[in-house]
Subunit: 151 residues, 2 copies
Amino acid sequence: MQPATTHRPLTIGELSERSGVAPSALHFYERNGLIEAERTAGNQRRYRRDTLRRVAFIKTSQRVGLPLKDIREALDSLPDGRTPTKRDWARLSLRWRKELDDRIAALQHLRNDLDGCIGCGCLSLKSCTLQNPSDELGASGAGAQRWNQPT
Amino acid sequence: MQPATTHRPLTIGELSERSGVAPSALHFYERNGLIEAERTAGNQRRYRRDTLRRVAFIKTSQRVGLPLKDIREALDSLPDGRTPTKRDWARLSLRWRKELDDRIAALQHLRNDLDGCIGCGCLSLKSCTLQNPSDELGASGAGAQRWNQPT
DNA sequence: GATTGACCTCAACTTTAGTTGAGGTTCTAG
DNA sequence: CTAGAACCTCAACTAAAGTTGAGGTCAATC
């Protein structure tokens, strides 16, 4: 058996320190339904240990480029009663993977187009693919399709 | 020789239509020193035709993920008196190229890490590389936090 | 020569992701 | 038991990148 301290819930200071997220941001996440906490008799927050993982998910999702609104939706799909399992987290991570792939592909397309344009310095609104995406890169969901037919 | 209309300066409505940028955004860019305009006797804006290219540069820079502040700096490095040449634009475009490369590399790195994590669903703050970037990506400096496209 | 659409300025509002500060309470170590 | 660190709430502020609206002017057409 591990020492009791290992199972003790986390104070906001501890969670902040261990996650690298400022207390003010944790408050903010709570206000926005991304995390939650129990309270002590004296009204201080006490976080379940798996909140650490939840915060980790939030941070990494942000690095992928997702807005908090989307992250919350993903977190909402976690089981309500029980502590999420590895499988639960893995399922959510797969979403990231798709996002990442799309985002990388989009930037690579942009780079291809750019390579064609650097030589000419054109930036012509009429002819340059860079100026005529004709496809919403940022439509968040529609991945990179074929918005770079070379002209 | 082309018809005279080709050389006529652009009204804000025309610039907006041809660039796909709202008039309110053009006002905003002007307030922030990204573009400028002559005025008619009646105080209406008239844009030199190469402003179209300037706006194109702004839009594309945003797609690459650069904040307006940086874009302005880049534009400030354009020759002051004369209309920029293709070479001028090409020089600026090279900056994008570097930005893009960095951004793509960072996301690919993240994806690699993610692939290692999806199997385990770990997201462990201690062991998972995803939570311990320790590389430049996590540090606020180089990377704009917002990689989202303007919609 | 009037109408109508395009344009002008200025101020206030929007969204996202938080931070900062004031004023007050709780927890813990000595 | 008490000092001080850590915590609480609430409101206001920040920054980026604009949008919206009010109230007024300009310009091109009938």
